[in-house]
Symmetry: C2
C-alpha cells in the first residue's frame, strides 16, 4: 500500500479553516447552520465537478457507498443515519479513487486512510456541523494517489474557474491560471560580459512563458545551458582517454593565496537603445520549451517561467567554459532584467528595448544538476530580485566534480568527461551553420585554452578551479536556499551539497534541505513526499509575499529513510556531530594489495565499469581480491545511523614514486535496499487543469543483496597537504594521509557489518593506467572516524 508523508500542511484555527472554505466557495455563509448531514451532502456534491447536475451527481452517489447499512450514498442521504467520521472517511476514499482498497477492507474507509498514512482518527465519532467543516477542510489538504492534495485534484477536475487570479488554500497557491492560453516570448538580454571581444556585452537569449493576466507575476528562472540543445557527437568525440597512467608531479610549495581567484565586477560596452516597445515580438514553439516539471506546476499557479542557456549557446553571443564567472554573470544578468534592472532587446540587432513589465520583480531560480549549480552560483552574487533558490543535485565546487584531492576524478558514470567536454556539449552555435563557419576557429582556440587551464596532467586545484568554486562566496548569499540531493548521487556527489549546507548553516538564515535515497534525479514527482506542496508554500511566501508560516512549516532537513520504503523523517542536523575514532587494528598489522590486472580483466572492466564495481563490492572479490584490502567491523548490536563525513587516516606506502588511494565504505548484511531510481507508479500527476502530466514515481525495494556501498573517496598520495601542493613521495616510504569520504546519512541495521575497501584504481572514477603498484597499510597506525548519531 502506498504511504503519504506530508510536511507542507499549515496549521489553521477552526475559524480560519471555515473562512477559507467560504473563500473557495466550498461553504456559503448561510450553510454554517445546516444540519451536518445536509452540509455533508453539499460537500460531496461539490467534490464532483464533472457532474454539474443533480441527476449526474445522483448517478455517482448511486454507484458509491456511504455506509454498509445503506444501499448506496444516495440512499444514505435520505435516511436517518447520522454522519460519523467513519462515513466521511468511506466517501473520501471513494473520492480519492481508492475503491479497490476500500472493497478489500470490507468497506472500511478509516482503515484505508490509516494504511496510506493519512491522519484519520476516531471513526465512530458522530460529527457536529462544526466538526464536519473542520474535518472537510483538513481532508482537502490530504494527499491522494495521483500525487496531489485533494483540493488540487478538485482544481484539476474543474472546480475553480481558470480566471488568471491568485487564490490560496492552506497557504498554497491554487492552479487557477489558464495554461491553454500562455504567452511565449523571446528576448535578448544584454549581459555585462564581452567574451567574444567585440566591445559590446554578449546578448543572451531568454525564453519566457507566462499566463495572460493583469496581475504582476513572479518568475521561476532556470539557467540551463542544455536548453538550446546538445551536441552529442561533438561531446563524445572530445571525451578524454582515461586509460592513462598516473604520473609523478614535481614536489613544490604552494599556498592557497598564490592560486586564489578574486572576483572583479564585469562591465561590458552597452548598445545604444534605439527605441522601446511594450511587448516582445519573437516567440518559440519547440517542445523543449517546458522541460522542467516543477515549472509547469507553478505556471498553472500564476508564476512565469523563464529559461536561458546563457553565453556560448545558440542565439547567444560569446564563449563559455563550464561554470565560469562570465557564464554565471550572464545568468545573473537575466535576473537583473526580470527584476527591472537591465536592458533586453526584441532581437539581436534592432536595439529595440523591451522591459519585463509583467514581472513582480521577485525571482526564484530552480533546476537540477548544471541548472541548480548555476542557480547556486547566481545566489553567491547577491543579485537583487533573486528571493530564493531551489537547487537540486547542484554542484557547489566544480573541482569536486571533475577532480578530487589532486586526482582527475570522473562523475560516476561519465569517465573522460571534463570542463571542456561539457562546454562542447552545449556550444550550440555549432548547430547554426553560418555562425559555426565564422566561429569555429576561435571556439577551438578557446577550448584549447580551457583544456590547458583545467589541467588533466596534475589534477591539482588552481586559480582556474578557484574561480569555479562557489563555496568561496557563500557569505554573499543573502537569501534562503532550498537544497535537494540524493545520498546515492555519485554523479554530483553528496559533498557538493554538504559543504554548501555547512557554510549556510554557519551564517544563519532559514535554509531547507531534502536528502533522498536516489541518485541524480528530481523528486518533485515522488508519491510519498509532498515536495511540490512544500515548494508551493515556500514560493507563495517568498515570491508572492503571502504570510503563510512557510519558514516555520517546511522542515529544516527532510531525510528519506534508507531502510523503510515511502518513509521520510524530519531531522535537525546533517553532520557537525562528534565522531567516534577507532584504529583499524588494535594490534600491529600490515595489509598490502597490488593495483594491476591481467590484460583480459583490465579490458573487461574498462568497457564495463559497473561490473567492476559490483564485483569489487562482493564479500569475496575473486579475481579482484589481490587489488584490495578489506577491513570489517564487528556486527552492530543495534541499529545506528551515520550522519556526516567518514574520515580516514591511513599510514601507507606505495611501491612507486606515485600512488593513489581509493576507499569505499560498505554495509554488509543481507537486506533489500531501495532502488536508486524511482519506479513509475502508473499514475500521472496533472500539473494544472489537464496540463503537462508527468509520471508519478516512487522508490521501491530491490532484490535482497549482501552489500551496499555507503560512500566513497579518493586521494593522490602526492596531495597529502592540499589539492594545490605536490608533496614528495618515495617508493616504499611510509606516509600519513587523511581524507574524507563523501558525506552520508545512513542507517546501518543491527546485525549488519560495516566494511571498508581500500584499493587503487576505481574503474568508474579515477584514471586507470593499469600500473602494477603495490601498496601497504599499517592498520594499527590507521584509523577511521565514524560520525555515529547519539
Amino acid at each position: 500500500m502506498m504511504k503519504f508523508n506530508q510536511f507542507g500542511v499549515i496549521d489553521r484555527t477552526d475559524d480560519e479553516r471555515i473562512a477559507e472554505l467560504m473563500a473557495i466557495k466550498m461553504l456559503a455563509e448561510n450553510e454554517r447552520q445546516l444540519a451536518p448531514k445536509t452540509l455533508f451532502e453539499r460537500f460531496v456534491r461539490r467534490a464532483l465537478p464533472e457532474y454539474p447536475t443533480i441527476g449526474t451527481q445522483n448517478d455517482w452517489l448511486r454507484a458509491h457507498l456511504a455506509d454498509k447499512a445503506s444501499e448506496n450514498a444516495l440512499a444514505f442521504f435520505s435516511n436517518d443515519t447520522p454522519v460519523t467520521r467513519q462515513i466521511v472517511y468511506n466517501v473520501v476514499v471513494e473520492l480519492f479513487d481508492l475503491q479497490e482498497a476500500f472493497i478489500r477492507a470490507d468497506y472500511d474507509g478509516y482503515q484505508v486512510l490509516r494504511a496510506v498514512n493519512l491522519p484519520a482518527k476516531q471513526p465512530e465519532a458522530v460529527l457536529t456541523t462544526h466538526d464536519l467543516m473542520v474535518l472537510w477542510y483538513d481532508i482537502l489538504t490530504w494527499h491522494t494517489p495521483v500525487g496531489l492534495q485533494f483540493i488540487d485534484v478538485l482544481a484539476s477536475r474543474g472546480y475553480f474557474p481558470q480566471d488568471n487570479h491568485y487564490r490560496q488554500f492552506n497557504g498554497k497557491t491554487l492552479p487557477t491560471f489558464a495554461t491553454n492560453d500562455l504567452i511565449r516570448e523571446t528576448v535578448y538580454v544584454e549581459s555585462a560580459v564581452d567574451t567574444d571581444d567585440d566591445g559590446l556585452g554578449d546578448l543572451v537569449r531568454v525564453d519566457v512563458i507566462r499566463p495572460h493576466t493583469s496581475e504582476r507575476v513572479p518568475v521561476l528562472f532556470t539557467a540551463s545551458p542544455y536548453y538550446q540543445g546538445l551536441n552529442i557527437a561533438a561531446n563524445d568525440a572530445l571525451l578524454h582517454d582515461v586509460n592513462v597512467p598516473l604520473t609523478r608531479k614535481a614536489p613544490n610549495q604552494v599556498t592557497y593565496d598564490e592560486i586564489a581567484y578574486e572576483r572583479v565586477p564585469f562591465e561590458a560596452g552597452k548598445r545604444s537603445v534605439q527605441g522601446k516597445v511594450d511587448k516582445a515580438v519573437q516567440t518559440f514553439t519547440k517542445e523543449q520549451s517546458l522541460p522542467v516539471d516543477i515549472s509547469n506546476y507553478f505556471l498553472s499557479r500564476g508564476f512565469a517561467v523563464a529559461y536561458s542557456a546563457g553565453i556560448g549557446t545558440k542565439d547567444a553571443d560569446g564563449f563559455q567554459d563550464t561554470g565560469s564567472p562570465e557564464q554565471v554573470e550572464s545568468m545573473k544578468n537575466v535576473v537583473e532584467w526580470l527584476a527591472g534592472n537591465r536592458v533586453a532587446f526584441t532581437d539581436q540587432t534592432s536595439r529595440m528595448a523591451v522591459t519585463a513589465n509583467w514581472s513582480n520583480q521577485r525571482i526564484a531560480m530552480t533546476g537540477k544538476s548544471y541548472l541548480g549549480t548555476l542557480a547556486t552560483a547566481v545566489a553567491t552574487t547577491g543579485v537583487a530580485g533573486l528571493e530564493t533558490v531551489i537547487a537540486e543535485a547542484a554542484i557547489s565546487d566544480w573541482y569536486q566534480y571533475y577532480r578530487d584531492n589532486g586526482l582527475v576524478i570522473a562523475p560516476g558514470g561519465f569517465p573522460g568527461e571534463d570542463m571542456d567536454v561539457l562546454a562542447e556539449l552545449v556550444y550550440t552555435p555549432m548547430q547554426q551553420p553560418a555562425i559555426w563557419r565564422q566561429k569555429q576557429a576561435s571556439w577551438r582556440a578557446f577550448q584549447a585554452n580551457t583544456a590547458k587551464n583545467m589541467d588533466r596532467t596534475t589534477g591539482n586545484y588552481s586559480n582556474y578551479w578557484d574561480a569555479r568554486n562557489y563555496l568561496k562566496w557563500v557569505q554573499d548569499i543573502k537569501i534562503d536556499m532550498v537544497a535537494v540531493h540524493g545520498l546515492n548521487d555519485w554523479n554530483v556527489k553528496p559533498r557538493q551539497v554538504y559543504r554548501l549546507w555547512q557554510a549556510l548553516q554557519a551564517q544563519g538564515g532559514h535554509h531547507k534541505l531534502f536528502l533522498h535515497q536516489g541518485q541524480h534525479i528530481y523528486i518533485n514527482n515522488n508519491r510519498s513526499l509532498d515536495f511540490a506542496d512544500q515548494m508551493n508554500l515556500w514560493l507563495t511566501h517568498k515570491l508572492l509575499q503571502v504570510d503563510n508560516d512557510a519558514i516555520a512549516t517546511v522542515p529544516t532537513i527532510t531525510w528519506q529513510d534508507n531502510r523503510l520504503p515511502e518513509t521520510w523523517h524530519v531531522l535537525q542536523a546533517w553532520g557537525g556531530g562528534q565522531a567516534e575514532t577507532m584504529a583499524l587494528s588494535p594490534q600491529p598489522m600490515l595489509v598490502s594489495y597490488v593495483d594491476g590486472l591481467s590484460d583480459e580483466l583490465y579490458q573487461k572492466y574498462t568497457t564495463d565499469f559497473s561490473r567492476w564495481r559490483s564485483d569489487m563490492l562482493l564479500p569475496t572479490a575473486q579475481a579482484l581480491e589481490h587489488t584490495r584490502a578489506r577491513w570489517l567491523m564487528a556486527p552492530l548490536t543495534e541499529t545506528r545511523r551515520l550522519n556526516g563525513e567518514v574520515i580516514l587516516h591511513l599510514q601507507m606506502t606505495s611501491s612507486e614514486n606515485v600512488g593513489l588511494v581509493s576507499a569505499m565504505l560498505v554495509d554488509y548484511g543481507d537486506a533489500k535496499h531501495l532502488k536508486q531510481t524511482p519506479s513509475a507508479t502508473g499514475e500521472k500527476i496533472d500539473r494544472g487543469v489537464n496540463f503537462a502530466p508527468v509520471p508519478l514515481m516512487e522508490f521501491t525495494l530491490d532484490n535482497v543483496s549482501s552489500h551496499k556501498m555507503i560512500t566513497i573517496g579518493h586521494l593522490n598520495l602526492q596531495n597529502r597537504t592540499s589539492a594545490w601542493q605536490n608533496d614528495d613521495l618515495l617508493p616504499n616510504e611510509w606516509v600519513e594521509v587523511s581524507f574524507g569520504l563523501q558525506p552520508t546519512l545512513y542507517e546501518v541495521a543491527a546485525g549488519h557489518q560495516l566494511g571498508l575497501l581500500l584499493y587503487g584504481t576505481d574503474f568508474e572514477m579515477t584514471i586507470r593506467g593499469n600500473q602494477k603498484i603495490a601498496y601497504q597499510i599499517d592498520l594499527a597506525q590507521s584509523s577511521i572516524e565514524l560520525p555515529w548519531e547519539e
Copy 2:
C-alpha cells in the same frame, strides 16, 4: 542516418500546386511574377512563424547558410548569386533541423536530403520562378526528423490561425482546430441489448472530445473495454493454471452445422424519453481521456473523438464476456447514436435525450488489439454511418486467440489468460462500491457460465466460439478496411489479420494492409513511414468526402523489410501464391523425441518461458535436445521471400492416447535482425500545435544472432479433422496431421538455412503438464509447403 518512406503524397499538376500554395497563403497572386530569388526569400521568411518581424527573421538568416560563397543567408539574399536547387536544399535542411548532418556534409544540403531518402534532384539547376513554386510545394510535403510533413511542422509552429475551419494541403487535412479549447462531454447511449435482464436496453457511457466549431465534424470512435480502467489484481487472481496435463477427449462425430452460431437481431426495451436537450451536461477530466495517439492527431484536424468501454464496464449497465455479440452490439449502438440513429441520455436516470447534433454522421473506428477487434466486429454488422475502420493488431476470431486446433493456446506472453480473465480485467463496476455490492453475486454466476462455455477442458471450437468468430460475417463488411499488423506479433498472431485479409480480398473493395516487423505495437509514431499522413489522406476522403485520390494513393499492401532498417515496400499480395511442397526426407527416416523434463528444468522454464524459447531456438538446444526434432534445409543460394502460410503435413505417432505437436520455422544464419519493439529516437511528434506530444520511434537492428523464429503453430493430435471434432488416437498408432503455421512475409538471406523445430510442450503457449510422451515422425511421409515468392 534516418530514412523516410512516404507513400501518402498525392500527385498534383503544377497549376494545382500553385493554387494550393495560394490557398495556404504561402504565395500571393501577384507574387507569381517575382524574380525567383525574391520569391525564395519570401518563402523562407514565411517558413519562420516564430519570427514575425524582419529584424527577428534577419537574425535567423544571419545564423544560417544559403551557399558557401555567401557569408550567410541574409548576405545571399542581397547578392547576385542565382537560386539553384542546391541552394534551396541547403536552406531546407536547416529549416528541417538537419544542421549537424549539413555541416558534416560540408554544407551540401542535396547530399543530406538524399541520405534521408527525400526526392531531391539535379542540385545544379538554376530555378525559374515556376520551378521554385513547384519545388517549394513539394518540399512542404516532405517528411522531417520530427515525424511530420514540413507543412505540418510549420502548422505546429504557428503558421496557421487556429480558427476551427478545415484546410487541406496535398489532400490531407491540416491542424487548424484549437486543441486548447476542446469540448469534453459524456452521454449514455441506450443500447439494443439487455444483459442485466431488467427489461431495458443497457446504457453505455460514451465520452466525446471535440473541437469548438460551427462545422459538422466526423468522428473517430474507439471501442475500448479498457477505457474505464483495469482490475489488475482481480485479473491476476483469475488466471488459469497452465501446468496441467493434456487429457484425452472421447472420440465423436461433430459437424460444423451442429455448432454453428446464427446471428439474431437484438431488441431491448426502450426507456420513455422525458425531454430533449441540445447539449450533454456531464463532463470528464481524467488523463485517460486521450489515450490513443492517432486520435489526438485527428482532433487537431477537426475530427471528434469518442470512446466507449461498452456494456459490463464502469458507468454502463450489464455484463459481457469478451467479444460477445452483445458487446459488439453495444459498440455498434454507439455508432448509431453518432450517426443520428439511436437515442442517448444526459445521465443514467433522468431520461433527457441528447443528440450528436455536431456530428457529420460519418464515423471511423480505430484502435489496436481488443479495440481494433471490436472495430472489426462492428464492421461486420454493416452499421450505417461507419465509413471505414483502421484495425491495428486486431483479433478476427477469438478462438484463434485463446485456442488453436483443439488446444488451449495462450497469446504469447500471457499464459493462463482466457475469455473470463479478460472480462474480469475490465469489469470495472468492481470499482464502484455500491454497484459491486449489488452485482457481485450475479457477476460471479455470469463468469462461471463463461468459464463453462469457453471450455478449457477440450479446447474445442463450439457454438460459443463461433459466435465470437467475426470471419463468419466478412461478407457483411461493406466498407473499405485498413488493417495494420506486426509479423512478429505473437500476442495477436498474424493469422488473425491474414484470414480477414484473404476474405476481404475475395469479395473486392479497396482495403489496405500494413505489415510491419514489430510485435504488438502501434506504428503511428514511427519515423520511417508516413502512416499518419496516409491515414489523414484516407479519412479526409472517407469522412470529409474530399476527392483526394486516397484510394489510389495509399498502397494496397505496405510491407516493412525484415532485413533493412527503415525500409518499406509496396506489395501486391499477401499469400495466395503457389507453394513449393517438399518431403522432409528424400529417403525413409524416422525421428523421435520425448516431451518431458527433469523437475528442475521444468520449474525453471515454467517461471521463465522466454528463456525456454530462446534455449529451444539455439542450434544446439543442450538440455532440451531430446524434446525436439530439428529438420534443416540446405543453405539458400539466393535471397528468397516467404509470402503466406507455411503448411505442415506430418505422419506421426504418440506413445499415449493423447498428444500435441508444436512447430517453429526458424531462419538459421548469423545476422542482425530488427528489434521487435521500436526504440525512442529522442524526438517527440507534435499532434497539433503544442499538443499531446508522443515519442517518435524507430525500429533498430539488434545484436548479431544465429537464429530467428519466423513462425509457429500447434495442433492437438485428436483434432486432425477439425477443431470441433474429437478424433481417436491410439498409442503408437501412425496418424497424419496437416496444419498451417502462422502466415508470414519474410525474406531469408542467401546463405541462411531454414529449419523446422518439431516438439510438444510450448512453455509460453500450450498447457504444460510435463507428461513424458514420446513422439515419432516419419520424415519421408511428411512434407512442408513453403510459399516462396517467384
